[in-house]
Amino acid sequence: MAITEDEARKVAHLARIAVKDADLPALAQELNGILHFMEQLNEVDVEGVEPMTGVEPMRLKRRQDIVTDGEMQELILKNAPDAREGFFAVPKVVE
């Protein structure tokens, strides 16, 4: 599988990273190099093997579905690039 310039543009957009058109050929080439390296995996017989999800065969911990934390609006907003009136502020989303 080879990534074209168009596909590179699509991946960059999915990843929400702005890439200039002029940089797309180099990006596509780099991604292709890495994907080519990954294609070695096709040599492995994985018939009947379950994909590994965790290293320990343990069930994820459960806890009571109750509030254990909170009431820290100020701390949460403290690092925001733009916070107003107790909220995170972003550019206009709906016209």
Binding site: I17, L41, V49
Partner: protein, 493 residues
Amino acid sequence: MSDLNRLTIAAARDGLRKGDFTSLELTEACLSAIEGAGALNAFVHNTPERARQMAAAADSRIAGGEAPAMCGIPLGIKDLFCTKDVLSQAASRILDGFLPQYESTVTQNLWDAGAVMLGKLSMDEFAMGSSNESACYGPAVNPWKVDDRQLTPGGSSGGSAAAVAADLCLAATGTDTGGSIRQPAAFTGTVGLKPTYGRVSRWGVIAFASSLDQAGPMTKSVRDAAIMLGAMASVDPRDSTSAERAVPDYEVALTGDIRGKRIGIPREYRMEGMSEEIDALWHQAAEMLRDAGAEVVDISLPHTKYALPAYYVIAPAEASSNLARYDGVRYGRRAKLGAGDGVVEMYEKTRAEGFGPEVQRRVMIGTYVLSAGFYDAYYNRARKVRALIKRDFDQAYAEGIDAILTPATPSAAFGLGEMAGKDPVEMYLNDVFTVTVNLAGLPGISVPVGLDRQGLPLGMQLIGRPWDEGNLLNLAQALESAAGFTAKPSRWW
């Protein structure tokens, strides 16, 4: 007393308890060493005032008796750990100015034990790299130097390794997703331990690849690694993968007796093009363990070859999802927007200027392998191969192997800038001996064993059974004593 900063944790603990010196004196020695080591670029956010306060508190606690081993010990902390009100930015521009309002479990455990924070240490951006060159602060520099070149301390925990090797601190925290503790330890003649996945809490450690990340100690000796792991590890309800297992006393496991232990030598790690020196050192290390009473046997880990490609599918996939949170809304940097730019432009511009090239590359690779149509071909296949890699280790251990001996890295430290312009895959090859251990969730330790012809340190890796850090450390200490590695970089900085 001079040169207190050169002490090991064990020696400093004993000296503090005997009253030979105070934590404040020890801390001042480290602070002066840091001040004189700007050229190494290891410490990137210094906290001298906090260090002095913590040292004074530790001194009172020691005077009161019953202080834990880490009490009064000055440490450096990798920039990946969230430390309350102290800049924590994973060496990324996207986290410019980020002041966590909480403390990571690992650092909290260390402060509870009385340890002293000297400041934050450089690393590769978001722990993605093997040379520390992707840090937004510029690379940390290896204190080892044999010619005109400045060498990499390795990565991603390069600042931690450089600081420990140059005696700027007694020890440092590191994190290891594919070798990021063990490779820098090998490049700097220090000891680095990656614990079993789940032994140390990931809470408050900025995430790279959550199924692989694990924090661990970077120290001057194996004993120090045992002491510090004991303080870092805990059962943490805030990390759902933290194991419900009591933390043993790792130092008492250092009996020095390794008779009858079975050490596996995996034939697949004898890579084509591996340097003769590393091959020879590997043989010597096996001999040392045999002379100490261990039995050395050849084993096979047949899927080794596929570990790197599997890793470079799985780690970027997890990273693309973990790093989605850096969007210019809740913390860190937001790009300056043009007239009419909406929220999507804000995300795209913020991430384009906030992430460096390697991080961008990995986020995009991860996005691609998780995207519709490729999920099975890449991501699921890689997870199946991962299961086979783990099965290789399970089988070796089921046959009675106690630990596995391999080189830690395929070469000694290389020059800063030497990999620039090369194919990214070449940099990935640095992790060839270490990634298998993360994929299988096992504990691994790098121990300095000798110098190469140029005079640069080389490390060997021991891989243990899951949750068996005690035995692993005991074997590592046997190797450390037999190798008698005492070389230190001579000061040029």
